[in-house]
Symmetry: C2
Subunit: 219 residues, 2 copies
Amino acid sequence: MVSNQARQPDRADVPEVVVTRLPQYVRVLNRLLEEGIEVVSSQQLGAQLQVTPAQIRKDLSYFGRFGKQGRGYSVRHLHDRLRDILGLNSYWNVAVVGVGRLGRAILSYPGFTPDGFHLVAAFDTNEDVVGLQVGDLTVRSIDELEEVVSGQNISIAIVAVPVRFTQEVIDTLIDCGVRAILNYAPTSPQVHDGVRIRNIDPVIALQSMTYYLADSPEH
Amino acid sequence: MVSNQARQPDRADVPEVVVTRLPQYVRVLNRLLEEGIEVVSSQQLGAQLQVTPAQIRKDLSYFGRFGKQGRGYSVRHLHDRLRDILGLNSYWNVAVVGVGRLGRAILSYPGFTPDGFHLVAAFDTNEDVVGLQVGDLTVRSIDELEEVVSGQNISIAIVAVPVRFTQEVIDTLIDCGVRAILNYAPTSPQVHDGVRIRNIDPVIALQSMTYYLADSPEH
DNA sequence: GGATGTGAAGTATTTCACAGCC
DNA sequence: GGCTGTGAAATACTTCACATCC
């Protein structure tokens, strides 16, 4: 049956760890593209990311057969296919909730747009902030969330509000149909099945490393 | 032999996933402390973090027996013990390398200090930046790295330099004795065994979520 | 000859389930 | 009665190893 065709596996059949590695592969492939390299083996790709070649081949096999035996993978082809699989060839409208110091930094961070993420709306509760112009966006009241999120087909939100409001804000976002959340607040919000959340949490990251330093003499 | 005493397991015997969960437990325990709650069960703790009670008990069992059957865990005691295990009762001196827009945001982020991480030195290569005062630190030339890192017992570094310099900077840091790195550059640097690295990478985080949204009609 | 794709084998991690204790 | 601590069972994930194909 299916031969050289890419599979369209049920999303639930693919382990989530595999999905989290795909963007990394895309990033390396992108660099190889820029360097004009046309073919890459799982061996070479793995060396870039400290991942075994077998793992890369297995990961890719969830989605199809992209390589040529004896040769490797076409950088361009694999890159394009992985971007397709991840949905990175679409534009994604993103809302930012919380326009404090951190929210403003996020709004002016230039790294999201080249990857297809467009920050199209910013919200805050603070009346002093609502109405302000930040970059090319006007900060809106959180009361307008529902209208804007459905009106502009926003399915991703970045949350940068104080911890005590985070759960409430995320609940509201989910009610409004948001299905993916990037949370910058130092807390682990609860989300029901079917909603994805990733926490950006530098303090937690540091705290999980000190364990391995803890036998050092002095810091 | 060992009975109610906390074990001191070989660091290598504890799965790394377990270690990454401990700081989350600490954070919840900290909140419970503030709320004046004195005892907590693995059930309750798990509910806060969407983790099964069995997992929490198993995780803790790598380090000792902290609970009381029929009752649960003393919030204060478990909190203190976990902080000890993670080395969070020490002060940690941290260097920041790269004082561009992002580096400055990190240097002025108030969230590290309360958790025992002290940003004690900032480095950059750019001559226009070296010598500048940022917060209460003077930006130093990267040439002074070795001297300062060993002189001030710095074993943790935060890296926020452009991608093309990241690997080189990290190699230098490791040469100077740094053993834990928090990397904000959008790349996956290579580090040898015995060095810990965590990447803060919001774009990768977003890209691993779009996979699950990709069957939506329109974005 | 060299590299993929993949069942099978091997590890790692999570969950079960229950004896033991408060 | 309720909850911990933990071997054993179940599940998830990674690596092996090789048939297959370019």
